[in-house]
Amino acid sequence: MGEVEVRALDGIDVIVDEGDFVAIMGPSGSGKSTLMNIIGCLDRPTAGVYKLDGVDVSSLNRDERAVIRNAKIGFVFQSFNLLARTSAVENVELPLLYGELGWSGAQRRKAAVDSLHRVGLAGREGNHPSQLSGGQQQRVAIARALVTNPAILLADEPTGNLDSRTSEEIMAIFQELNDAGKTVVLITHEPDIAQFAKRIVSVRDGRIQHDERIEQHRVERRGIAAPVQASRRPEA
């Protein structure tokens, strides 16, 4: 048997504007994971062009993509993907360890603490993931994604492991961050969750099926998230 070429994605053409909140929907096997990997610079397309923040990143090598991921993309995963036996603030600091900013330990700590405050986790800095609820863990993950002030937040089924009430809280945080200007790309297969976005792109069999702008489903404010402040470079 020879190798069979499987086209996970074919003829995808999407433009996500700055400040948009896009939900990418599709059943399993639709190619949405591949799309997410490409958007997240974890993978690169075999053909075609992907521009992120005006830069063509589709031809970058491993290390160059690592730099882009660090500076421009904030990942939020379904299974939180926090380091176990590591405190919340240390988890949030992690991207800064690998960054090009050259911050001191105190600067990193301050940025991490600020980021935790933004997602409403003030006072939980020293807790380990095992001492936090699922929702709190996901907030730590969002704080980690925010700490480098990336161009986009890329959330892959962020509510997949959470109950519906907690899911709403998490989606509220995304909406607030989006209101403050952050571009959010949400990957999900749950229509309820996709309703929180401003635009839904449905993928099926590697192609775009629908691309529609929607009336955004608002969650009532619970006063969880503190107002967003730009914090790219704290005063040294």
Binding site: R69, A71, F75, L83, L94, P95, Y98, G99, T148
Partner: protein, 409 residues
């Protein structure tokens, strides 16, 4: 530049935290290195101590010292004992009279005996020697005097005690003038030797009694063959000449044609020392190869654990890569972890090695010398083992694909 130094330090800390999180496992991983390094330190310390004490023995005997043994050398060089000794007292007298390069000659016989003084008794070695013995061994009498030619001729029952014997038989002192019974024969103590201390491998040189060889032969051993002759050349430079002259004379006296197998054997102190040194070298090589194997196994242990650790932490590696760690960063993290394990293991090994060495010195009374160079070398090898065996697992981690690593359960 500052950025990358900062980042290197951050990554270093990450590796350190991982070690501290698994204390027991880290300790067990280090064990091979600990044993290997400890082994090297102890072996080298014992070897150095032995070499040093052999050197001391040479110095204390004087470099012009020569030993003559009865027996033959075969072609292969192995020493053979004939049934009875071939050296006689007449041989000793002839060497002293006829060999111009020889300054002193003394017969030497040894027997062990229980000695009694009053209520106390002590088992020790009794040596029968001639009047030249103090000059050959460069060993003086601290208290009293040595016996004379007339004592030797008469087979006088006089003796000189080693310092240890004197302490055990006469704890209050005042041994000179007292009577000791050696194998039930009463001897008058006429002197006590200077204290000389332990010799090679911790033998107590002061645990002996010296008496005229004639007396020892007649009263204690009942034979008149010699087990050994001690001689000394007039100067260290004349040792070779003295050996040649003794060889020629004894061959003539024993009617051995030139080129025939001699029925005696000679060793200068230097030859004895180098023979001992050669033995030590074999022993040291053997122990060092055990240590090397232990280090190798220690290294493999580190590699094994690091591979387990990489597999176990695949997801962590995926997370780190997703948020921006380059392959290089992951490589350094794991390499650093392996090196830290081996260096900490090396440090523990050095500590245990030094501790064990001093324990050996204390309990076995062996001379021990821990050399700084052995510590540095053992430590360096341990670190190198960490780099070498840590590299493969670290590279494996660095080459993981972030997508696969994130999906790893």
């Amino acid at each position: 530049m500052k950025t990358s130094a900062q980042r290197l330090w951050n990554i270093t800390l990450v590796g350190l935290k991982a070690i501290l999180r698994n204390k027991m496992r880290s300790l067990l991983t280090m064990l091979g290195i600990v044993i290997g390094v400890g082994c090297v330190i102890v072996v080298v310390a014992i070897g150095n101590g032995a070499t040093k004490s052999i050197q001391d023995t040479i110095n204390s005997l004087g470099s012009n010292f020569i030993m003559i043994f009865p027996g033959t050398t075969t072609q292969g060089g192995a020493r053979m004992f004939s049934g009875s000794s071939t050296l006689t007292i007449e041989d000793a007298d002839a060497i002293k009279a006829e060999c111009p390069a020889v300054a002193y000659v003394s017969p030497n016989l040894r027997t062990s005996a229980q000695t009694v003084a009053g209520e106390l008794n002590w088992g020790t070695s009794v040596y029968g020697v001639g009047v030249d013995w103090p000059f050959i061994r460069a060993w003086n009498v601290a208290d009293g005097g040595f016996f004379t030619d007339s004592d030797v001729r008469a087979g006088a029952k006089v003796c000189i005690l080693g310092a240890t014997v004197s302490e055990n038989l006469f704890p209050q002192g005042g041994a000179v003038g007292q009577i000791v019974r050696i194998k039930n024969v009463p001897f008058k103590v006429i002197g006590v030797l200077d204290r000389k201390g332990g010799s090679t491998m911790g033998q107590d040189q002061d645990d002996q009694i010296i008496a005229p060889y004639t007396t020892v032969m007649k009263r204690l051993m009942g034979q008149n063959k010699l087990s050994m002759l001690y001689a000394s050349a007039k100067s260290p430079e004349q040792v070779g000449d003295a050996q040649d002259q003794i060889d020629a004379l004894l061959r003539q006296r024993h009617r051995i044609p030139p080129g025939g197998d001699a029925d005696f054997m000679m060793r200068s102190q230097e030859e004895i020392a180098s023979a001992q040194d050669a033995q030590m070298k074999i022993l040291r090589t053997l122990l060092l190869s055990i240590a090397a194997i232990s280090l190798l196994i220690g290294g493999i242990g580190i590699m094994n654990i690091m591979l387990v650790s990489v597999t176990e932490r695949t997801r962590e590696i995926g997370i780190r890569m997703a948020i921006g760690a380059k392959g290089r960063h992951v490589l350094l993290q794991f390499l650093f972890e392996a090196i830290t394990l081996s260096i900490v293991g090396g440090l523990l090994g050095v500590a245990i090695g030094i501790g064990f060495s001093s324990l050996v010195a204390k309990i076995l009374q062996w001379p021990i010398f821990v050399s700084p160079s052995s510590i540095i070398i053992a430590f360096g090898v341990a670190a190198a083992v960490g780099v070498f065996f840590g590299f493969y697992p670290a590279r494996k981690a660095a080459r993981l694909d972030p997508i696969d690593a994130l999906r790893y359960e």
